[in-house]
């Protein structure tokens, strides 16, 4: 079973989460826990960097939907960066690109919070 590695990095008030591996039915819980932890700490300006994400399943996409309401209520947002073509296709197919902003790099995304 493939794994998901999550690395968190704070850039001022923005938190960057680097995802590596597979975000699917087996690993989505870790990602969801991490996001909920950030929300509880009021760190709601979140950038998710996906350059090393190999695969995302519907369960993985569900995580974004389950937390985005809380994040936006608290005045934050989740912005996505560096989606590879495969991952982007999944996001686009489902219409996620209409619901979440995507950027080519982390700096642009972080800048967008200002």
């Amino acid at each position: 079973m493939a794994n998901l590695e999550i690395m968190a990095e704070d850039k001022n008030e923005v938190t960057v989460l680097h995802l590596k591996g597979f975000l699917d039915a087996y690993t989505f819980q870790d990602f969801e826990d991490k996001l909920k932890e950030l929300i509880s700490e009021d760190r709601v300006k979140i950038v998710v960097a996906m350059d090393e994400l190999d695969y995302i399943s519907s369960a993985g996409l569900g995580v974004f939907m389950s937390v985005i309401g809380q994040v936006r209520t608290k005045g934050g947002d989740i912005k996505l960066t560096q989606l590879n073509s495969k991952v982007y296709k999944v996001f686009e197919l489902l219409g996620f690109t209409k619901l979440f902003q995507t950027f080519d790099n982390i700096e642009e995304a972080a800048e967008n919070f200002k």
Binding site: A2, S58, G62, M65, V67, L93, L94, G95, L99
Partner: protein, 500 residues
Amino acid sequence: MFKNFSFKWKILCVISVILIFALILFSLLVNIYEKNLLLKINDEKGRVIVETIKGNLDLMMLSGTKLQFFDFLNSKKTYEIRDISILNNEKKHILFSTEKHIEGSEIKKPTIELLHDIKSKKISAVSFDNNMTRTYFIYLGNSFFKENGSFVLKVNFSQKRIYDFINKQTKQIVFLSVFILIIGFIGSFFFGTIVTSPIKKLTTGTFEIGNGNLDYKININSNDEFGSLANSFNQMAENLKFAQKQIIVKEIMDRDFKIAMDIQNALFKQQLPESNVLDIATHYEFARQIGGDYYEVLKANDETTVLVADVSGKGIPGSLIMVMLRSLIRAQFHSEHNLKKLILKVNRMLMEDITPGKFVTLLIAKFNESTNKLDIINAGHIPLYKYIAGKNKIIEIVPNGLGLGLDAGVIFEQNLELGSDEMQLGDIYVFCTDGVTEAMNKNREQFGEERLKNAVVKYKDRDSTTILKNIKTDIKEFLQGEEFNDDFTMVIVKRINKEA
């Protein structure tokens, strides 16, 4: 009492009894030895005394009167020396210290035998009255008080003191032994009770737990091995109780799960509507647990609607949403003929009840059998694959659309596109869920769209059922024994000739 003793205790009891009896026997033997020793010492003492008396008499013989002799003999009497007398040659008492023997009385028969050759012996001795009395004879001489003959001094010694002492000692030994025996029994009984009571408690506990009383607690408050054993035992009972509870919960869940599966299976067991121009085949199987996939083939007049949907998440939550969606579609299907309006309505209603984070992707197409036209909506689902018979190639039809349950308002509506197509004889439409394209083998390699498309082309000339069966076989081969990791849903619609 013994019935309740363990084997070990029975053996200990028997050994104790044997040891105590051996001790008694030994004490008695020592006692007898002591008695004999005392008698021997007494005998020697008696002989010395007798000889001393004889010496005194020899001295007195020259000048003493009969009265003086009498006084002398009486003076020699003690507790031990009961009486002293002098016998003549007719074995008759001539002088005596007690009233027991009167002058001229004869001595007893066995004693007479002893006097036969008394002259040649120094001292003769004999015991009477069960050894209580020992009598010594010693030859005095052939003249006594101017009388001639043969005279013998007779001294009766009492050994009663020795026997009294020995008997007293024997009684003490027996009494002491019996006392020790009784104390020993009582002691071992109580000691045994103290030692065995925790074992009894543990036995009772085992019995109670064996009978299913998992609330039973063993109460042993000692700090020894029994105490810790009781603690482990109580912990075990608690763990068992917890495990039992888990099993019950799991059993209930399994039962509910089975009911849910039966309900879900029943939903898919519907007869496909009849059609002269559309050859339709469906297949659905869930991976490992009840799934969130859903398909439907509905017919109204000359319009046949096919839809496949995939709920994010499996198990009961996924399946509940699936059932919710099915009810909404079925309820709205006959009153809302516009496909786009139908989906907008269903999405709005679904949004009211869906859990945040859950969503549904859906691909729906309405085939008009008279006009050969079809409307297509894709709400975040994988494409509709179409084999175009006239061009012998496969295309993807993907009108824009967000998944259901992601947004209730403007974004969803703005992005929902109504696609359309026209079908020709021999065209094949493939509806499926990502469980088909993302079926993964050991190397984490997906079956993928290309293999699916190639398979459709390969089997294009067969009927829908055979095409579907063959594609499934191809996927199974690709998986090389791996299980499907997601639900597998596929609907194949082939445009056929009316006469066929």
